[in-house]
């Protein structure tokens, strides 16, 4: 009450003070004694509830008759008018106007009888009539005055009682409102039209961590807000001044510096003239709410990211007891279903309808099995998507069972496994292709081996030649493997083929543009270059310390009809002699290259050194010439 009184603005403290003053006066009245006390008692008697009419009139008659008898005994020789007058006044005052009139009538009759005994006996002289009438009129006037006084007293008493009741009610309401304000955890503030703080509820001071309201009283309220909250507070005040209510969410620190989020409702308090004369601001601490919302938002965002990043088509939740099947928006969109229906529940039949007819029975069996068993569920099947095509997907979920084994819920996700299945299919094809190539390579190795053995003079030579040829085949394979067996770069191929023979860049000089060759052409060229280099090392330019080999190639023209030339030219070797026996090497060089390149391959034993020239259509040697890969 103390705080309320101190901090309550406007009418509050004033009315409370008024209430206190009244009680003080009542107490003072009660304590007064003496004359005032007598008057007070008379007043109390006057305004007290009156007895019934019979009692009032009986009592009035009794008093008047009593006085008349008293007069006849004590003052027989004396008319004694004065004895009746005070009685009539008292009767009118205490018992009311009616009893007063009766007393007046009776007293007048008594006075009349008294005059009958006085000369002229038995009748009333005109003078006696006049006196009697004057007596009656006087008493009548007195009675009227007394009744008027009495009515005034009663009215005063009634209004005082009602005033007293309304004051009590006001006090009770004040106490109620004050306790409501004090117990509210909202920060309820009253501001003047300039936005200065004039009042803050007790509960509000707690949440705002205000230890002394005087420290903040009169401070401009918008200054409590930081960043965008300040502008919002100023705008809300301006609105309230114009009679509008508004609300906003902002950040403000408490007086102890604790940062908090608040929801603030600002509304005008209207004065008697209906115009805003103060402003009410109610702030609610929503920090915890915002934090939980933020956490929920972060979680939802994580889920969204996870769903968007993976091959997840959508998610579903099947409430089994109510048989309500709900799906998320992505699910609905993918299958051309109404997203609103997805949130409310989609008939399972509508979902099953999209499953490929060949997969429906197996799917139903898998679902039934999962529901019976509980736990994890994964099943792959084809489903018709929005574009009308069937796509492979994997449903991946979990059936939760109640302790008694009843199925409760069945949530899960749909995974797009088109790519996975395509990759698996691709892998299968690649494996087949690889096996095919491996067998081809083995067939080539087999034929190279057989031809080497066929032409070898002895086992030792055969072994050496075969090993070197297999190394050359390996070099070609390396280049082809790097290009996934699709093509081979000529320069790399030549370098690999000739590297085992050494002195690359010194005695073996390469020059030519970038050319991409067919795999089989590549294999035969590597073997041919290997044979040429082996030959040069045995009998040609690489058999001494001075000879060189120049390998040059070029492409003349463009497109498939362009010509590809390759020249192997030896210089500085020992005197050249044409060989007497043409073995596998030379056969391979000329015949196989002719066959693979579809052109001419010529070996010339010129005096300065061996010259090998290859001339072919570019379209037959390079990619896209129709040779099998």
């Amino acid at each position: 009450m103390t705080t309320g009184t101190r901090s309550h603005p406007g009418t509050g403290p004033t009315s409370l003070t008024a209430g206190k003053g009244w009680w003080s006066r009542s107490a003072a009245l009660r304590r007064t004694s003496g004359a005032q006390s007598v008057l007070e008692r008379i007043r109390a008697v006057v305004v007290a509830a009156r007895p019934s009419a019979a009692v009032r009139y009986g009592l009035a008659a009794f008093i008047i008759v009593g006085i008349a008898l008293l007069r006849s005994f004590l003052f027989a020789s004396f008319p004694g008018f004065f004895l009746f007058t005070p009685a009539i006044v008292v009767i009118a005052l205490v018992l009311g106007g009616g009893a007063g009139l009766l007393a007046n009538l009776l007293a007048t009759v008594c006075v009349g009888f008294v005059f009958l005994d006085i000369e002229p006996v038995g009748t009333l002289s005109p003078a006696q009539w006049a006196v009697t009438t004057l007596f009656a009129a006087t008493n009548l006037g007195l009675t009227g005055l007394v009744v008027a006084l009495r009515i005034a007293l009663v009215a005063a008493d009634t209004s005082q009682a009602s005033l007293s009741r309304s004051v009590v009610a006001t006090v009770e309401r004040e106490a109620f409102l004050t306790s409501v304000l004090a117990s509210s955890t909202d920060c309820i503030k009253v501001l003047d039209l300039d936005g200065k703080l004039t009042f803050m509820s007790e509960g509000g001071q707690r949440v705002m961590e205000v230890s002394d309201f005087n420290a903040v009283e009169g401070c401009p309220w918008p200054d409590f807000w930081t960043s965008s909250g300040h502008a919002e507070a100023v705008a809300a005040l301006a609105g309230a001044r114009e009679g509008r209510s508004s609300d906003f969410v902002g950040r403000a620190s408490t007086m102890q510096g604790t940062p908090k989020w608040w929801h603030v409702a600002v509304s005008p308090i209207r004065g008697a003239d209906g115009r805003p004369d103060r402003i009410l601001s109610v702030s609610r601490d929503i920090t915890a709410l915002r934090e939980s919302e933020a956490r929920a938002e972060v979680n939802a965002e994580r889920v969204r990211l996870a769903l968007a990043a993976g091959a997840i088509i959508g998610t579903w939740f099947w409430d089994i007891p109510s048989d309500r099947f709900t799906v998320d928006e992505a699910f609905a969109t993918n299958f051309g279903l109404d997203p609103a229906l997805g949130r409310e529940g989609i008939p399972l039949a509508q979902i099953v309808e999209t499953v490929h007819p060949d997969d429906q029975a197996k799917l139903a069996a898998a679902i039934a099995e999962a529901i019976e068993r509980g736990g994890r569920y994964a099943h792959q099947y084809r489903v018709r998507r929005r574009d009308g095509q069937y796509y492979w997907l994997e449903a991946n979920g979990r059936v939760d069972l109640a302790p008694d084994g009843r199925p409760l819920s069945f949530p899960g996700v749909l995974l797009d496994i088109e790519e996975r299945r395509a990759a698996e299919e691709n892998m299968r094809l690649l494996n087949g292709e690889l096996a095919h190539r491996l067998k081809n390579v083995l067939a080539v190795v087999q034929s190279v081996t057989r031809q080497t053995l066929r032409n070898a003079s002895d086992v030792q030579t055969a072994s050496e030649n075969l090993s070197a040829r297999l190394v050359a085949l390996g070099a070609a394979t390396d280049v082809l493997t790097n290009a996934s067996w699709r093509s081979a770069d000529l320069k790399e191929l030549v370098e690999r083929a000739l590297a085992p023979h050494g002195q690359l860049g010194q005695r073996i000089l390469l020059d030519g543009p970038s050319v991409t060759l067919q795999p089989q052409v590549a294999v035969s060229l590597v073997l041919a270059l290997h044979e040429l280099a082996t030959n040069a090392a045995k009998y040609g330019a690489l058999s001494n310390d001075a000879g060189t080999v120049a390998v040059d190639w070029r492409v003349d023209g463009e497109g498939p009809e362009a010509r590809f030339h390759l020249t192997w030219q030896e210089r500085g070797g020992p005197p050249v002699q044409a060989p007497t026996r043409r073995g596998f090497g030379s056969t391979l060089i000329e015949r196989s290259l002719k066959s693979y390149f579809g052109g001419t391959a010529v070996t010339e034993f010129q005096p300065e050194g061996l010259v090998f020239t290859l001339d072919a259509r570019m379209g037959d040697a390079a990619l896209g010439n129709g040779k099998k890969a």
């Binding site: 087949g432 096996a435 095919h436 190539r437 067998k439 081809n440 083995l442 067939a443 080539v444 190795v445 087999q446 034929s447 190279v448 057989r450 031809q451 066929r454 089989q520 294999v523 035969s524 073997l527 056969t587 391979l588 015949r591 196989s592 066959s595 693979y596 129709g626 040779k627 099998k628």
Partner: protein, 126 residues
Amino acid sequence: MGQSTPIGSNTILIVEDEALLRFDMIEFFEDRGWRVYEAERAEQAIALLDRHQNIRVVLTDVQMPGSMDGLKLAHYVRERFPPTLLFVVSGHAPLSANALPARATFIPKPFDLHHVLRQIERSPVG
């Protein structure tokens, strides 16, 4: 070439685009006294068959460039030259009997030429 040899003679047509393999097979059969014709593709093979009616054995690879692969060639040979002995070679998985022409033998790559030769020798002449 061009000399006439009666049916039942040792005359073989080898259809293989891979020169290294083809040379090996040619030498193998020539070393054993066979008359050998060679073709890189089906079209060449058909021309040779038309020209040399005495060819008794056709050994063809399945994978070949051109509009006609070895399998189609085998069917063509069976139809046009019914008595011919047919060997179909492939590095791919074995072909089903349905895919092959009648009385054709499938040989997976790589294969043993001696084994093929024994099969030819066991076959009834004609």
